[in-house]
């Protein structure tokens, strides 16, 4: 009997050890490509003294878009990693976003104290150039043009610089609770359209963020065959002849008039229904009055290549607050017929109590059964 027990105990211990080893080995092999990308950035690019910080992964999740008809985001799946970096001098939080195994951004939040940098930086220019040098090695991409632009420029002055087809927009601002922030955004300008190459942010001269979508969404067809005026004309024709939206009661709103002096059209990239960036005209109309649905504007996206209308979205607001009249709600001038409605949804799912009760009852029943069994066996 004792021998059997010993064998049983030994086997159990062996199984536990094997399971532990197996789990450890699985855990080790489960460091994903995305996580490797994030950690490689921490190791090779993040301008902090890693030896001074205790770095731990304290958050991970995968972000999916809502499954919602006619508004799907193609191929969207993002992995988010959040690391805490703790030292005696300061605490940081560093979050990474990886999409399709491409690191697209890193955001650093300084939670406490002074950041311990990997080396002393004489000024913001030095910090920017230092970052670009390390990023060049990490990404294996040439950043020499960007470095050149940042080298002899007053980065604390809001300005836009152009060198060849590269444009650098510099913005600065002081914020009471987040310090002095500097934004540097480099764009590659092709046929008048600005494609983002790299965006950096620094807070009080310390690196606090970057975004780079050029690898994730490479530049595709850059043809621009439609002028700004043509784009506005196409968009105007579309909203006057084709665009309509539904109000309750099966009322369709159409025939829009705009305040022409407020119309804007900007040539800008998009990745709608594509894995590559391509140029579109983004035309924004301000309507002559508020239309049903609290609609005050219309946003039309037109392919800069073909002139095709890719999207028209209304711009509606949550009520007008222009009036100081205390009895009148500003409602759209056209009032469609009141209508039927959807099923009531005032439901509240609160079955947590029930679940807890069931588990408690099961636990009690199992315990009582064990007692009964034990007592019965012993009585025999």
């Amino acid at each position: 009997m004792r021998k059997k027990t010993k064998v049983f105990l030994t086997m159990t211990a062996l199984v536990i050890v094997l399971i532990s080893l197996g789990t450890a080995s699985i855990a080790k092999s489960e460091v994903s490509t995305a996580q490797q990308k994030a950690e490689a950035f921490t190791e090779n690019v993040l301008p902090i003294d890693k030896s001074q910080y205790n770095i731990t992964l304290d958050g991970y999740f995968v972000s999916y878009p809502p499954d919602i008809k006619d508004r799907e985001l193609n191929n969207y799946k993002q992995e988010h990693y959040r690391y805490s970096l703790a030292s005696d001098e300061s605490d940081l939080s560093v979050s990474y976003t990886v999409e399709n195994d491409v690191l697209k951004r890193c955001v650093v939040t300084i939670k406490r104290g002074q950041v311990l940098t990997d080396r002393p930086y004489s000024n913001l220019n030095d910090a920017v150039i230092g970052f670009l040098e390390r990023y060049q090695t990490y990404k294996a991409a040439d950043t020499s043009e960007m470095k050149y632009m940042a080298q002899n420029t007053d980065l604390l002055k809001n300005q836009t610089l152009i060198a060849g087809d590269l444009k650098l927009k510099i913005s600065n601002g002081d914020y009471p609770f987040s310090g002095h922030k500097t934004s540097l955004m480099w764009y590659r300008v092709i046929n008048g359209c600005e494609y983002l190459e790299l965006s950096l942010s620094f807070t009080d001269g310390i690196f606090t963020g970057f975004s780079d979508i050029s690898q994730l969404y490479p530049i595709g067809n850059t043809s621009v065959n439609i002028s700004k005026d043509q784009a506005i004309e196409i968009a105007m024709k579309y909203i006057q002849e084709n665009y309509t939206y539904e109000m309750p009661g099966n009322v369709w709103v159409k025939g829009f008039n705009v305040n022409q002096s407020l119309t804007t059209a900007v040539l800008s990239p998009t990745v709608r229904d594509s894995n590559e960036q391509y140029p579109v005209w983004s035309v924004m109309f301000t309507l002559d009055h508020t239309y049903p649905g609290s609609v005050v504007g219309l946003h039309v996206i037109i392919s800069a290549d073909s002139g095709e209308v890719l999207l028209c979205s209304n711009q509606a607001t949550g009520g007008s607050i222009e009036s100081s009249d205390d009895t009148t709600i500003i409602l759209p001038s056209q009032s469609p017929i009141s209508s039927s409605s959807t099923a009531p949804d005032n439901t509240v799912s609160s079955d947590n109590n029930m679940t807890t009760t069931i588990v408690a009852v099961i636990a009690i029943v199992v315990a009582l059964a064990l007692i009964a069994l034990f007592v019965k066996k012993r009585s025999k």
Partner: protein, 287 residues
């Protein structure tokens, strides 16, 4: 004798086990009951206020937000009100929700999306439009800051409020007397009873988010985003709550969303000074 001792020991052990299990469950429940939440979307079917798509996408996104908050808080006090013609959301619903939550919970998270207009002395006050239904007098269906909100938030429990209606970050009284002839002024004060919240602050026990000027409707593309026509405002609301359930603070989430949409930090995006955070932006949903 030995048998009896063994029985007693076993009974004692099993009883202890049972008490531990039940005890831990009760503790868990008590912890869960600290938090309560409500989300309200009045919707408007009449008088041309909300389009069909707006109502559909708002209902759908609220469903997602409800699921996220449910799985995060696991609270016994959770409410999701979605207005319709048959079941309109009235000002009394706001009163009931706020009163119930403050009575039974220690910490309250509140999100509402819809329309808002000014009212009261000098237009100082704000009122949340409820569900206007065809049988109701059109001007009796607003939840007024000092009348329907203030009296039901007096226990200081509304620690996390996001009021996605027009102009709800405005009219926060920064100096006494904090009220006029129509009562306490503005939604930030009336929801929190706190007059010490900083503009994009980083300390304190309260956080309140609202809009300066016109709040965007959900079914609209976000203007000025880098990838034109890609994200809608309902994406913003969805990702805001979804990402927060993974432990990010309000400001971290807004920073992340800003980078995602505009490729730059929040303060450099069109959102700054538009979507306003009063109070402690470092608060998470587990405040």
């Amino acid at each position: 004798m030995k048998l009896q001792t063994a029985k007693n020991s076993a009974l004692l052990l099993v009883s202890l086990l049972i008490f531990c299990v039940i005890g831990s469950m009760l503790t868990e429940n008590a912890k869960a009951d600290e938090y309560g939440w409500a989300i309200v979307n009045p919707n408007n079917y009449v008088d041309g206020v909300d389009s069909v798509n707006e109502i559909y996408y708002t209902d759908t996104i609220f469903n997602y937000i409800a699921m996220d908050l449910n799985s995060y808080y696991y609270s016994n006090y959770q409410y999701w009100y979605s207005g319709s013609e048959q079941y309109p959301v009235h000002p009394s619903d706001y009163c009931y929700l706020l009163e119930t939550l403050q009575d039974y919970c220690d910490k309250v998270t509140f999100f509402t999306k819809g329309h808002c207009t000014p009212w009261g002395y000098n237009g100082n006050h704000r009122q949340l439009l409820c569900t206007l239904s065809s049988g109701d007098p059109p001007n009796d269906e607003q939840a007024k800051d000092s009348i329907h909100i203030w009296p039901h938030t007096g226990y200081f429990k509304n620690r996390f409020s996001f009021i996605w209606h027009c102009g709800t970050a405005e009219m926060y009284p920064l100096s006494p007397p904090y009220q006029d002839i129509d009562g306490p002024i503005g939604m930030p004060f009336c929801f929190t009873h706190n007059v010490g919240m900083d503009y994009y602050g980083d300390s304190g026990d309260y956080v309140y988010l609202g809009w300066i000027w016109a709040s965007p409707q959900f079914d609209c593309t976000i203007p000025y985003q880098y990838q034109q026509g890609y994200y809608y405002w309902f994406h913003f609301a969805y990702f805001f709550f979804n990402w927060m359930t993974y432990g990010d603070s309000v400001m971290s989430t807004l920073q992340d969303l800003s980078w995602e949409i505009y490729n730059t930090y929040f303060e450099n995006s069109p959102l700054y000074d538009y979507l306003v955070v009063w109070g402690n932006g470092d608060m998470t949903l587990g405040y």
